[in-house]
């Protein structure tokens, strides 16, 4: 099953589902022009993919979804950052979405610590766009097989230059 929008395309294997939306507010900037304040809201795509039923009302980094994760579950989040991050030291330019290994998963990498869970983050620039790949596994003991599943999933993510 394919999911595509905003220049990002992913092919979801059996058992996976996804949501591709725009980042919620946060980056709103106000600017006065004459007597009027012009509010410009910068939003960027956020892709959520999971091998379980994604709940509604999720945060960009999976809050709301990680609460219901169990053994064998994995949540993959791809968040795009602003143009000012492209090519910086934190976002090195790569030719494809970086791969994950089991050793990268740690409970300290979690945005929201949940017992038994582990997360991994990779920042990169792909096709002139800056991204963070954030992955959470429901049980740290499953990190090795789930990292392989995640790599299979992210290997076919295609990004179109802006």
């Amino acid at each position: 099953m394919k999911i595509e929008a905003h220049g990002i395309r992913a092919e979801l294997p059996a058992g996976w589902e996804g949501r591709l939306t725009r980042r919620t507010s946060g980056a709103a900037t106000g600017r006065r022009r004459g007597g009027t304040t012009v509010v410009r809201e910068e939003t960027a795509p956020v892709l959520h993919m999971a091998n379980f039923a994604l709940p509604e009302g999720r945060g960009d980094f999976g809050s709301g979804a990680v609460d219901i994760m169990g053994t064998g579950h994995v949540l993959v989040v791809l968040v795009e950052y602003g143009a000012d991050s492209v090519g910086t030291a934190l976002f090195p330019t790569v030719s494809r979405v970086p791969r994950l290994t089991a050793r990268m998963f740690s409970d300290r990498a979690l945005q929201r610590v949940q017992r038994g869970q582990a997360g991994a983050q990779r920042f990169f620039t792909l096709k002139g766009r800056a991204f963070c790949l954030y992955t959470v596994v429901g049980d740290q003991r499953d990190a090795a097989p789930l990292a392989r599943s995640t790599n299979d999933l992210t290997a076919q993510i295609q990004v179109t230059p802006r």
């Binding site: 059996a14 949501r19 939306t21």
Partner: protein, 282 residues
């Protein structure tokens, strides 16, 4: 004298009818018990829930009839756009839970009751393993802003035309309950409000539970028989009685002593038994 004979004949005739009736009733009971125990091939099908053919019922004039199909032939996962999400996919098959796919419209009056009911999913009274997904027509046929106003915040809403065709939906509102493990449609239909649809779904669940209960009872019986046979075989083999052993075919008077046909059956040092062994066939 003639009157007595006639009276006796009548009594005998009545008693005969009674006996025949009792025998027939007894045969009925035995047949039903046999069916409950699994029955044999060729026997009449067991009573209980059964699929109802499309030609065995009709719907009210204003109620959309279900599609004339036996089942899905392809995957029925959902993909489209959402009111908040720019793209979303929802897995319906190949998952552990069941999915209630609710086909609604932002403009139909009857649908309004369901949009209202779905605002509070916890009060829908659905089993815990049922996930509700709302499907509307795609943005080219349905107003995204109207759907956004109606969409509940805690249920996924997929806007897609493909699902309406692939599910062969006759109109809105329409509901399809899919078992994610088998991919089969457990029930489908429509109603004028949520309690009515919920009643249909509850009936489906109850029927399935009843059928599963019957199935479990049959399996238990077979398993018990199988275990008993295995235990008997193990005990006989442990006693040295292999298949075809003469002792399995009843006591033989001639076999009390050594016979030319079975010279080894007298006494074996390893505990093998002779035909008069205390281990009897079960």
């Amino acid at each position: 004298m003639t009157a007595v004979v006639v009276a006796l004949a009548l009594v005998v005739a009545v008693l005969t009818l009674l006996v025949l009736g009792l025998l027939r009733s007894h045969a009925d009971i035995l047949r039903r018990l046999h069916q409950l125990d699994g029955g044999s091939e060729g026997a009449a099908p067991a009573q209980g829930p059964r699929p109802v053919g499309r030609d065995e019922f009709t719907t009210f004039p204003e109620v959309a009839a279900p599609p004339e199909r036996e089942g899905f032939t392809e995957s029925r996962d959902l993909a489209g756009v959402g009111v908040d999400d720019d793209a979303l996919t929802v897995r319906v098959t190949g998952v552990e839970h069941r999915t209630l796919v609710a086909f609604l419209s932002g403009t139909c009056l009857t649908c309004q009751r369901f949009w209202d009911a779905f605002q509070k999913p916890a009060k829908l009274g659905l089993p815990r393993d049922v996930r509700t997904v709302i499907v509307t027509k795609g943005p080219d046929q349905e107003s995204p802003s109207a759907v956004a106003d109606l969409a509940p915040s805690s249920l996924p809403v997929v806007m897609t035309n493909d699902a309406w065709m692939s599910y062969d939906v006759p109109g809105s509102p329409y509901f399809v309950l899919v078992d994610g493990r088998t991919g089969k449609v457990q029930g489908e239909g429509t109603g004028i409000d949520w309690p009515q649809v919920k009643g249909l779904l509850t009936q489906v669940t109850d029927d399935d539970s009843y059928a599963a209960d019957l199935e479990a009872r049959r399996v238990a019986k077979y398993r018990a028989d199988d275990e008993r046979e295995r235990r008997v075989d193990d005990e006989l083999l442990a006693a040295g009685i292999a298949p075809g052993d003469p002792s399995l075919f009843g006591p033989a008077v001639e076999a009390q002593g050594d016979t030319p046909d079975n010279p080894d059956s007298a006494a074996k040092p390893d505990g093998a038994v002779s035909p008069d062994s205390p281990v009897a066939p079960h």
